[in-house]
């Protein structure tokens, strides 16, 4: 009998639509897999068994009634705990929101429900999406299914680990500096950061509003594209949502699967192909470049001189926005309140609540942001970082006058051992060295598996111009057709 958890989303949707299996059976198989392995992986913060079975039953009823089902109807999906889910706990990996059940659904979740997907539950993440390993979750680290002693990336390590552990065929992430792409790379899965404004931020708990981008995670490029098409598109509830249709990412993924890249010009980012990356990562990347060349792509080197300042600029801009956004966690409207004994003032209660509710990385970023925005430091730090952001955008614009898309390794190193980078916060920041420029520019980026280094997955990143998300899917699908999907050792 087919193991339903090993199938792609496309295959599951086909079987449900044809009646060869039911959405309820598919959901039960995934819930059983979660029950069997998640005590070791810790990908889920909350499993919504009842809600999932009800949603699956509704899909089966619609099929029985002869209704036409969407392309992902009946397919289970795991949702990063950064998106609000009506009546279902949403913690953002933080103690400050422990037990909170939002009174509304985020736009992404509304669209997932409308498409007939089945939400299995909420996935683990670094607190407030700040981190690159999921070790900063207030609810314990997630473990990489490839090696349980290693990190699954972050902040969306729960979503990517759930895919690699066959607990879900689809997942949602959010990418502020690489939180979809870096976990995808180190777990051997696919993760796409759409163009900023291409997916709605309504109901996404804000970290850095000018950078936060929800997006699809899957085990195949086509599955990611199908999910992207379901969640993407204009949302009047998000004032930075782009009022234009989503590029046809599904058609692009199908086109790319032919393995023909004739006429496509790709740029290798000079600044990201030299030192800084592990030798094994560099070797896998070079091999992928050869593969893409054999498929007909023309490869040139492109210099983006300001990319080396992307990491410092990001670690000023993102903390500045976070220090402002996280001011809403004041113990008044939702979540934790500490020290309200009838004698303490609002300000004292607020300070005690935030002290108890936030973990160390969140506190560090709030303080860095507060510093960068202070009078006297504003021009040298936040103001200067915004100017560097302009120069990075210009690097992208001029690169895309020469090439259709840029490529690089997704991360400088493979999954590192749990505990090896938490004592030095800046060492953790380096995990996002190659993914951050795209966020500052606002364009789309995708990570697709390109091989192994010492038995651990390596990802290739494809970066495309704003609102040309389809281009990256074409290249990613082409590479996938040669590399194949990666299968981790049995858990």
């Amino acid at each position: 009998m087919t193991d339903l958890t090993r199938l792609t989303a496309t295959e599951i949707a086909g079987l449900v639509a044809s009646g060869e299996t039911s959405a309820v059976e598919v959901t039960r198989a995934h819930l059983a897999r979660i029950a069997a392995v998640d005590d070791r992986v810790n990908a889920f913060l909350h499993v919504d068994t009842e809600g999932a079975l009800a949603a699956a039953g509704a899909v089966d009823a619609r099929r029985a009634a002869g209704e036409e089902l969407g392309p992902l109807a009946g397919v289970p999906v795991a949702v990063k705990d950064v998106l609000t889910t009506k009546g279902v706990p949403t913690t953002v990996g933080s103690k400050i929101l422990e037990g909170w059940r939002p009174p509304y659904d985020s736009t992404i979740v509304q669209r997932l429900r409308a498409a007939g997907t089945v939400m299995l539950g909420k996935t683990n993440m670094d607190e407030f999406a700040m981190g690159s390993s999921t070790e900063y979750s207030a609810y314990g680290a997630t473990h990489n299914p490839w090696d349980l002693d290693r990190i699954p990336g972050g902040s969306g390590g729960g979503s990517s680990a759930a895919l690699a552990a066959y607990e879900a065929p689809l997942a949602i992430g959010s990418d502020t500096g690489g939180s979809i792409r870096q976990p995808a790379a180190v777990t051997g899965t696919v993760g796409a950061k759409p163009t900023y404004g291409g997916t709605s931020r309504y109901g996404l708990v804000a970290f850095s509003s000018s950078l936060d981008t929800p997006g699809p995670c899957a085990r195949t490029v086509l599955d990611a594209a199908l999910l992207h098409a379901v969640i993407g598109g204009h949302d009047p509830r998000d004032s930075t949502s782009i009022p234009a249709p989503v590029p046809d990412v599904v058609a692009a993924a199908k086109l790319g699967a032919s393995g023909d890249l004739t006429g496509v010009k790709l740029g290798v980012v000079t600044e990201f192909s030299g030192d800084g990356g592990e030798p094994g990562v560099q070797a896998a990347f070079r091999e992928a470049v050869e593969t893409l060349t054999k498929m007909g792509a023309e490869i040139v080197e492109v210099s983006c001189p300001h990319f080396r300042y992307a990491l410092p600029a990001y670690y000023l801009i993102a903390p500045s926005e976070c220090s402002s956004n996280l001011a809403r966690f004041d113990g008044v409207r939702f979540g934790l309140r500490v020290g309200d004994d009838g004698n303490r003032s609002l300000e004292e209660v607020m300070s005690l609540t935030r002290e108890a509710g936030f973990g160390p990385e969140v506190k560090r970023r709030i303080m860095i942001g507060t510093y960068a925005l202070s009078s006297g430091y504003y021009d040298a730090y936040y103001g200067q970082a915004q100017k560097v952001r302009t120069l990075i955008t210009r690097d992208f614009t001029s690169a895309f006058e020469q090439v259709d898309a840029l490529i690089s390794p997704t991360t400088p190193f493979v999954a590192f051992p749990i505990g090896s980078r938490t004592s030095d916060p800046y060492q953790m920041y380096l995990a996002d060295l190659y993914t951050i420029p795209t966020n500052l520019y606002g364009g789309p980026g995708i990570s697709v598996p390109c091989g192994l280094s010492e038995g651990l997955p390596v990802g290739l990143q494809i970066m495309a111009p704003t609102m040309a998300d389809d281009r990256m899917y074409r290249v990613a699908a082409a590479l996938e057709s040669a590399v194949g999907t990666l299968t981790p050792p049995a858990l």
């Binding site: 670690y315 009838g342 609002l346 709030i366 915004q386 560097v388 916060p425």
Partner: protein, 101 residues
């Protein structure tokens, strides 16, 4: 030379409404110093004439039709509040009692 002192970190914590412990101050002072020295690299870029970018989407004044749409009921809006009274969020005292009296 350190970019930031322990006293400055204590000040930042107060501004950030974080009642940090003495032990945390010791740890954070060293860590924030490393981070700030690293991010200060942005100062190497000659950017005096470069306009700042706050946002990548070139949209301004996004408006919608002024029509009533369903929203949260007061009960829903208060459902996650630590404390509520008479359909309002209840907060600890804001003024000192002797000031208020």
């Amino acid at each position: 030379m350190a970019a930031i002192s322990r006293e400055e970190v204590a000040h930042l914590a107060r501004l950030s409404r974080l009642a940090v412990t003495e032990e945390e101050l010791d740890t954070f002072a060293g860590q924030l110093d490393v981070i700030l020295q690293s991010v200060a690299q942005v100062g190497e870029v000659a950017a005096a004439d470069i306009p700042p970018t706050s946002h990548s989407v070139p949209l301004t004044n996004v408006l919608r039709e002024d029509v009533v749409v369903p929203g949260l009921t007061p009960q829903e809006a208060l459902s996650g509040a630590p404390d509520a009274e008479e359909q309002r969020f209840r907060v600890p005292r804001i003024l000192d009692e002797d000031v208020a009296s």
